[in-house]
Symmetry: C2
Subunit: 133 residues, 2 copies
């Protein structure tokens, strides 16, 4: 009981939006590369802390999304940070298989603006047909 | 006219949310440190590209927010990336004065989870009374 109460303190300092969510930036703890932007509800945040791995809220599937639960591409939690306003979270992680994107790339950010259009600058590491998010 | 049309192509590939906004992660291009999570509308994105500096949409003030317009803490645009789903943007920037947070710190992410509570790990560099966001 006491533990549950204490746990609520950090989650209470997050400024959840009208849908009860907060954006969670996920960054490779070693390289600093930003891997994913996903969303968390309170349960996802508490599960991330408890299980020491990135657990998001899937807005499309409307359920907890334990990153890598099917693909094995788990993001192991190294550190968790909160911003000044409490409305954004930063996860520093270790990407177990080096792949965080469902397209089979290291990062979801693989398009860069060149002139007036987005250009893909990173090849697929693993065939996305073999990966589930 | 032609230029305006071409410019719209990259902005059209962004998946704007129901409020016409997209979350924009801002990262120091050199150190890799995540500095700010803010929001952009189409005008903010196009202005960021045109003016080569971070320009957000202030959801509280409901207007364009040229980061550093009063404080001088400008975030110079180095690179712009888009994620796989098109619903998150990553800005790599050079922080002109080394301060991106309105609290007078390098980054808005200055609290880390230690055990069950958030702990401030970064001191204020410049008195926030002297800074406007």
């Amino acid at each position: 009981m006491a533990k549950k109460f204490i746990k609520m303190i950090y989650a209470d300092q997050v400024l959840w939006n009208q849908d009860g969510l907060v954006p969670a930036i996920t960054q490779d703890a070693l390289s600093g590369r930003v891997l994913v932007l996903a969303w968390m509800n309170r349960e996802a945040l508490e599960t991330t802390v408890t299980e020491k791995r990135a657990v998001y809220w899937s807005r499309s599937r409307k359920k907890l999304w334990r990153k890598g639960e099917e693909s094995g591409n788990i993001l192991k939690l190294i550190e968790l940070q909160l911003d000044c306003d409490g409305d954004a979270i930063l996860l520093k992680v270790e990407a177990i298989n080096g792949i965080a994107c469902h397209t089979g790339r290291q990062s979801c950010f693989y398009k860069t603006l060149r002139g007036e259009s987005w250009e893909v600058f990173e090849p697929v590491i693993k065939d996305p047909e073999d990966i589930n998010p």
